[in-house]
């Protein structure tokens, strides 16, 4: 007799495990299926362990600049093995945390590879090759995504790495090539640069972090270049070969010239591909776009009883988007099963913030100035620099600025774009404002604590309306 559930979640990343917890809260009998580690990429191989690595880099950076704070630190050095061990320890701690959460919420954990054999039916094959049949009234696909590989640059984990290899290096790269300047590429570039590697970033588009506002890209390029990084934009890697000693890359630069350069290592960070294979999607006729599963506002696929969330669906591919979709999907399912007390609410992608944890940090929500204009908005733009903020000066972090874009007619905050110390912690203020549909008056009338970096958020809005105080 197959185990029967109300809901099976396939994949236990930040989308899947949050969905399972919410389902349990709503009284659904829930199972979660995971082929590797509870917590998925985010927690084991992504967001969290990279933040641990970047924290080590930041501490090192501060030690190297101890003098500026009136302190002395003798020859600070990074011990790569210990830095990585700390990062793995953090991931392990959180992995155990998720295990505890599953237990606390009475969620059945099935370790193994899941395949949907029919709507409501799933076969789970364990590591020992034994298969179990599960059944459920609803299934949520939360299988996530993996790094996209370049056809000519297969990651071997020796000299050519994906994010996953880059997180657990056996040796310290001396000259590092990073292909791709999205969040993942730039974060590793920043980490290894801080640790002392000579880093070159190749970006196909005309600026780094191309999804961000162009002023952010420009400021980040300036900061990273100052830190010694080489940034090649409008450039492409034509071919890559590796041997035991390193890699040789033919790089075509913006001026059209192709030259071969040698590096000790290469990180390929050119996007992701969804994990949609061998889970039964084709047989069920589940619709996809460019490989990613199509869903409606309540995360339902075109096949009844099957929902999908997170990286396996449409962008943005961010952990917090996946978690939020997990909540929406489960609440919609609970409602379909007769729960009248839940009110699932569709997410607005314009209100999903994005963060990049390089040094300096980048954070944003909503439309860039260019996109806002493209969409037909008449805009009011405000900008305030870190150098005008008392707390930033006291911290010794005077690089960066906060930019806000308002609709001139309605006062809607269309977008906010930040670069500088701790901005990833600040963006949430604007995100709440956007979700609550606040207008400029609300931001202006809010009291911001002194002395904090958040005062710049106030000043930026004031600047948009010609009322900036401290510049």
């Amino acid at each position: 007799m197959a185990d029967a559930y109300d809901l099976i979640v396939l994949g236990s990343g930040p989308g899947g495990y949050v969905a399972a917890i919410r389902a349990s809260q709503l009284g659904l009998k829930t199972a979660i299926v995971e082929r590797e580690s509870l917590g998925g990429i985010c927690l084991n191989w992504g967001c969290i362990p990279t933040k641990a690595l970047l924290r080590s880099a930041e501490v090192l950076h501060n030690m190297k600049h101890a003098d500026a704070y009136g302190l002395s630190a003798s020859e600070p050095k990074a011990d790569l093995a210990k830095v990585v061990a700390r990062s793995r320890g953090v991931a392990k701690q959180l992995n155990q945390g998720v295990t505890g959460l599953m237990k606390k919420n009475k969620i059945a954990v099935h370790m193994g590879v899941g395949e949907i054999t029919a709507p409501g039916k799933m076969k789970v094959t364990g590591a020992d090759g034994k298969a179990a049949e599960l059944s459920a009234r609803h299934i949520i696909v939360a299988t996530g995504a993996r790094a996209r590989e370049l056809p000519f640059a297969k990651a071997d984990g020796e000299r050519v790495w994906t994010y996953r290899h880059a997180m657990t290096p056996k040796e310290m790269p001396t000259e590092l090539l990073v292909i791709g300047s999205g969040a993942i590429g730039i974060e590793f570039a920043s980490f290894y640069n801080d640790l002392g590697a000579k880093v070159t970033v190749v970006e196909m588009l005309d600026r780094i972090v191309p999804v961000e506002d162009s002023e952010i890209s420009a400021q980040l390029a300036k900061s990273l270049t100052k830190q010694g990084m080489t940034l090649l934009t409008g450039a492409g890697v034509e071919s890559l070969s590796s041997d035991g000693k390193g890699v040789a890359a033919k790089i075509k630069t913006a001026d059209g010239k192709v030259a071969e350069q040698r590096f000790s290592h290469c990180i390929v960070a050119v996007g992701i591909v969804p994990n949609t294979e061998n889970i039964g999607l084709e047989k069920l006729g589940i619709k996809t776009t460019k490989g990613h599963i199509d869903t409606d506002a309540m995360c339902r696929t075109n096949v009844a009883g099957i929902s999908a969330i997170g990286d396996v669906t449409a962008p943005p591919w961010l952990a917090h988007k996946a978690s939020h979709e997990g909540i929406i999907a489960v609440e919609a399912i609970a409602q379909a099963l007769g729960n009248k007390d839940v009110h699932p609410h569709a997410m607005d992608v314009r209100n999903i913030p994005g963060c990049t944890y390089c040094h300096p940090q980048v954070a944003s929500v909503g439309l860039t100035e260019a996109k806002a204009k493209e969409a037909g908005h008449e805009v009011k733009v405000g900008k305030f620099p870190f150098i005008g903020n008392g707390k930033a000066i006291a911290l010794g972090e005077v690089e960066g600025f906060i930019k806000t874009v308002f609709d001139a007619k309605t006062g809607e905050l269309l977008g906010a774009h930040m670069i500088g110390a701790e901005v990833t912690e600040l963006i949430q203020g604007y995100t709440v404002g956007k979700q609550a549909e606040l207008v400029e008056t609300d931001f202006i009338n809010t009291v911001y604590p002194h002395p904090t970096l958040s005062e710049m958020m106030h000043e930026s809005v004031l600047a948009a309306y010609g009322r900036v105080l401290h510049i």
């Binding site: 037909g376 008449e378 001139a408 207008v439 400029e440 609300d442």
Partner: protein, 434 residues
């Protein structure tokens, strides 16, 4: 102390009106209950009665002024013994109405905020509507957009937390991009105060006459647009054999002639619809965002064509009224509707509507739902048609009736049950008089 008489809110949705006619002049003494003026709202012309007694010291808004906002002082009443000339110089009497509309100054601008070069159109706080009492829950952005587009927030249902009205409820396009006013918010939704710039000059070389929209026309335009844009309509049609109903009507009218009552087919259909709604209560509902309102009485709004538009007076509790009572009430309501004299409670509300175009020879049509109602019955002409009766082709009086249902609130099967009940009541009409 002399009293300012203000533009009254004569209906819950009224925001402004036309001061059609003054029935008093300066110096007249008035007592409570006297009719002071006629005020035209978006729906009808109504009388403005005096509440206090005194002398009309000054008329501030001349007759014929339109777009007078609710709450605007329109006249000054001096009490007994008061010096009418001691009236605070509210405004020069000759000031045009538009200027007057601005008279009640909005909340003072926030301290220090006065100089904001931004958003000149946006006062610090949206002017609260007079007399509505309830605070409307809406996000700041929704308030701004509603104001800019001339949308009455109280007419919307909020989908946000706790029923809060959010941008999406305004039917705003995904990007919310500000389009040129005409494209995004064409006449039906907009049509704000006439003081505002003309909506968009309409240019044509064809000889024409431009007629300014009446308040009623603006309301019809706005509500019908809202209905068709927001309500997923589903249409269900039945053919109804009328012979028995016509026969019964003849008999009833013969019996009622001495009482001066003459029932129309429409009177009987009102009763039939009301009874059907009670029999299939799933269709006697209103869709209200996160709740469904289920009515236990059938109040039928009957579409009445009047000069310059249309109005829907209501037969309240039609399910429990005799057809003769419905007939009498309908005659009275329709008569007063044509004179523009209906009171708001006589045309606002209703649980479902009936629209009959049979007298124009229309065979069959689909009507637009009148929100917040969830159904409307469209009646075509009763006519002799070939009809299969007992497996042979015969001639019968047949009428096509089409129900439009709000599919958010009413399932197709329930709509079909209502149509079946309606058809059966019409074809076996003794149920109407039982």
């Amino acid at each position: 102390m002399p009293l300012e008489l203000k533009m009254p809110a004569l209906s819950p949705t009224m925001e402004e009106g036309t001061l059609a006619k003054w029935l008093v002049k300066e110096g007249d003494s008035v007592s409570s209950g006297d009719i002071l003026a006629e005020i035209e709202t978006d729906k009808a012309t109504m009388e403005f009665e005096a509440v206090d007694e005194g002398t009309i010291a000054k008329i501030l808004v001349p007759e014929g002024s339109d777009g007078v906002k609710v709450g605007t002082p329109i006249a000054v009443l001096a009490g007994e013994g008061e010096d009418a000339s001691a009236v605070p110089a509210a405004a020069p009497a000759a000031a045009p109405a538009k200027e007057e509309a601005k008279a009640p100054e909005p909340a003072p601008p926030a301290k220090g905020g006065g100089e904001t070069p931004a958003a000149p159109a946006a006062p610090a706080a949206p002017a609260p509507k007079a007399d509505t009492g309830d605070r409307i829950k809406a996000s700041p952005l929704a308030r701004r957009l509603a104001e800019a587009q001339g949308i009455d927030l109280s007419s919307l249902t909020g989908s946000g937390p706790g029923g809060r009205i959010v941008r999406a409820d305004l039917g705003d396009k995904a990007g919310g991009a500000a389009k040129p006013a005409a494209a995004a918010t064409s006449a039906p939704t907009a049509a704000p105060a006439p003081a505002a710039a003309p909506v968009q000059p309409f240019e044509t070389d064809i000889p024409h006459e431009a007629v300014k929209l009446s308040n009623m026309r603006k309301t019809i335009a706005r509500r019908l647009t809202e209905s068709k844009q927001q309500i997923p309509h589903i249409y269900l049609t039945v053919d109804v054999r009328l012979d028995a109903l016509l026969k019964l009507r003849g008999e009833l009218n013969a019996g009622l002639a001495s009482r001066g009552v003459k029932l129309s087919v429409n009177d009987m259909l009102i009763k039939a619809l009301a009874l059907s709604l009670i029999e299939v209560p799933e269709c006697n509902v209103s869709f209200a965002g996160d709740t469904l309102i289920k009515y236990s009485r059938a109040d039928i709004s009957v579409a009445v064509s009047i000069p310059g538009g249309l109005i829907t007076p209501i037969i309240a509790g039609a399910d429990s009224k005799a057809i003769s009572a419905i007939s009498k009430e309908m005659g009275d309501l329709a008569g007063r509707a044509k004179e523009g004299k209906l009171q708001p409670h006589e045309y606002q509300g209703g649980t479902a509507s009936l629209s009959n175009m049979g007298m124009f020879g229309i065979k069959q049509f689909e009507a637009v739902i009148n929100p917040p109602q969830a159904m409307i019955m469209a009646i075509g002409a009763g006519e002799k048609r070939p009809y299969v009766i007992d497996d042979s082709l015969q001639i019968a009086s047949i009428m096509s009736a089409t129900g439009s249902f709000d599919h958010r609130a009413i399932d197709g099967a329930d709509g079909a049950r209502l149509m079946k009940a309606f058809k059966e009541l019409c074809e076996s009409p003794l149920g109407l008089v039982a």
